[in-house]
Symmetry: none
């Protein structure tokens, strides 16, 4: 079954709000085996809405419409639907009761504008809205279902979860769609594609679709398949991932499981540290607190994260972390010797099981011929072992900070896993 999502309202077209409703609906629909084939946003204008409804009906079996149901003059979705479906607006007593109850509960009078919310196209099936005043409407034309909902996210989500999705699952025979996403770091999209080409060529025969989803510093590989036998689909995808490991295991840091959020590298590390009852601390120069903020955005991180220092000057590297003047004078702050001293002293100062230290030239200034912008040294240390590596990233400050952070986190992750 194919679906289209149609958002009505100027606020998306002028870039005032992000279309998070569509993301949520797309996730929910895919999860029950409905393919979203098209997402569109149009303005609050009758002609634009009518054309969009026409176009949607050529592509989809079911069209999810949000927005344009407010009581104010700029909201015209209901009027357009009444005309499009040739079903004049009539007062629906059940909706009127809901609207009245909504206001009574809040100790307010029902105004005329709000009473009009109970007007719906004559032929429509009403979907109750327990969180607001605009009802949902389910209409049909030439075998295509059109479901109109308010644009307020929590009203829409409640209507979808409580009424619409359960009804769709009951009424339609849906295929089962299964996705699993492999998370990689340390290799670019095209190099990864070259590395796994032969494996990728074999996926089609297994009815598995592969998508590369690059983000700055990461590439996610999404494997999708669909059919009737859920266990078989899962087994097929798991077998395909098993076959991928010999080619790319060193870049794989985790998996995104079906219907769950993508775990971040920091989340994966926090998980390992909690399992092992170990702790980490940071010394960040060029990433300037960014890695710390990735850790501290995670609820419950204080169990395993002891904190960090951001010694942004040479003086502060000496004062906070006892980096020796000799090191700074001879090899400089962006060097193997400096990050190793930073890591070892952080370990001592914070009394943590692991320390991560990073020093580099994020740019745009500060580069030299010998150490151009993008030069980064990263060290990881424990009481028993230490490791420092050199990286050469690009010339964009923001990207260099991000690449440095992800690379450092993946180094830390591997270091922890190798650690007895």
């Amino acid at each position: 079954m194919k679906a289209e999502i149609l958002t009505i309202g100027d606020e998306i077209l002028i870039g005032q709000i992000v279309n998070t409703n569509s993301v949520w609906m797309a996730q929910e629909l895919n999860a029950i085996g409905i393919s979203v084939v098209h997402i569109a946003s149009v303005s609050d204008q009758a002609e634009a809405i009518e054309k969009a409804l026409d176009a949607a009906s050529t592509r989809a079996d079911i069209v999810f419409i949000t927005g344009g149901l407010g009581p104010t003059k700029d909201d015209i979705t209901k009027k357009v639907l009444a005309q499009y479906f040739n079903a004049p607006l009539v007062i629906n007593e059940a909706v009127l009761a809901d609207v009245t109850a909504f206001f009574t509960k809040r100790g307010r009078e029902v105004g005329e504008l709000n009473r009009m919310q109970a007007l719906v196209p004559g032929r429509c099936e009403v979907i109750r809205n327990l969180n607001g005043t605009a009802p949902g409407m389910w209409l049909t034309k030439n075998g295509v279902s059109f479901i109109s909902m308010p644009g307020v996210p929590y009203e829409m989500k409640a209507m979808m979860s409580d009424s619409i999705l359960p009804r769709i699952k009951t009424h339609y025979q849906l295929p089962f769609i299964y996705h699993k996403t492999v998370l990689t770091q340390g290799i670019g999209e095209s190099n990864l594609a070259g590395l796994i080409e032969s494996w990728e060529d074999g996926l089609a025969a297994k009815q598995i679709k592969l998508a590369y989803l690059p983000q700055p510093g990461l590439v996610r590989l999404r494997l999708s398949t669909w059919g009737a036998d859920e266990a078989l689909l899962r087994a097929n995808v798991d077998a395909a991932i098993e076959a991928l490991l010999p080619l790319a295991e060193k870049y794989i840091y985790g998996y995104e499981l079906y219907g769950q959020a993508t775990p971040s590298l920091a989340q994966i590390i926090v998980g390992h540290l909690k399992d092992r009852k170990e702790t980490v601390a940071l010394a960040e120069s060029c990433t300037g607190g960014y890695i710390a903020s990735l850790f501290t955005s995670i609820a419950g991180v204080s169990e395993v994260f002891k904190g960090g220092v951001i010694p942004y000057t040479n003086t502060m590297k000496q004062r906070l972390l006892n980096v020796s003047a000799t090191t700074l004078d001879t090899t400089g702050a962006v060097s193997k010797a400096c990050v190793l001293e930073m890591a070892k002293n952080t370990l001592r100062c914070f009394d943590s099981d692991y320390a991560l230290a990073i020093s580099g030239i994020a740019g745009p200034g500060g580069g030299t011929d010998e150490k151009p912008v993008g030069t980064v040294w990263i060290a990881v240390a424990s009481a028993h072992k230490e490791l420092a590596m050199h990286f050469q990233f690009g010339d964009n400050r923001e990207r260099n900070i991000q690449m440095s952070a992800l690379t450092a986190l993946n180094m830390l992750r591997k270091f922890i896993l190798k650690h007895k």
Copy 2:
């Protein structure tokens, strides 16, 4: 002039990523007087892309396409464009040179897949991509312009800002639109609307349109007007803002000027510090490096930012910042006494002109009846003065970190400006 934005790729249709590219493009296009009439997302399938191009050409004068330009097999945009515009793919030597330079600079070989990135439809005008390997392509059919760009946000944004928007402004006669945006912090959207209601009511008579652009912790007020006489438009908007000051000055931290990026609170502070040749250092507990990362994302910040500490445990507050055991035992880490000690010791340790310290309960755990989740103390100190304030935010960790950071930065900004 009317524009359409078309996003190609399954990742939006399955709800894996939020379509932030469209929001950014819609903002940029509206800002130069181009109306976005339609936004669509389609899958990586030739037929869907071709139909979307057809439909777009009936609605828009210029179509902005992102996505599907990666080197991997699932990306087919370029092939479809070559066919749609009847312009077979040819190697473009300038692009090949860019791609080669991109890899050489990173010390990597150009693989065959990457060399293919230099293939473009014969008739297209190439838009250089200095941040990646997929070039932009500008094609024309029946008077409609189609501009295809990579979906990676920072590559697309750089191409739009550096090449495409300047070219559009030169080649087309666009109405003159003047925007000025007032940046506020410390008051929510609806309270702000109540506060400035009478002022807002008077804007229509001056042909000024007001938009509230709320972000977590901030509200931007965009004043827009258009016409032929640029000087008059500027004067009108400036007069309106002058009239706003008596009502809301205490919440205003800056302005976004026409055609410029929104300055962040951290950028505004860095500007003040550079002017005054002064420095700052941080002690972040509950914000955990987030404020430092806001500072260190700014190029050239090392002139004024000496660094920070993230003492995430009580022990580390004592060890790194000499917070007294008595304070921690009697008033706790989230207290006026603690943040004042943190700020004063940070000032001393970093030898900076200002220090900002913050301690709070971000949640979801750690709250008590006396100090519920969302309790935050912030202190600012200089050699001559110190100030601590208490705030009560909500129960969402991410929001609490963001609100704390913005509130702390605004406190620091006011403190610096009052400082002799």
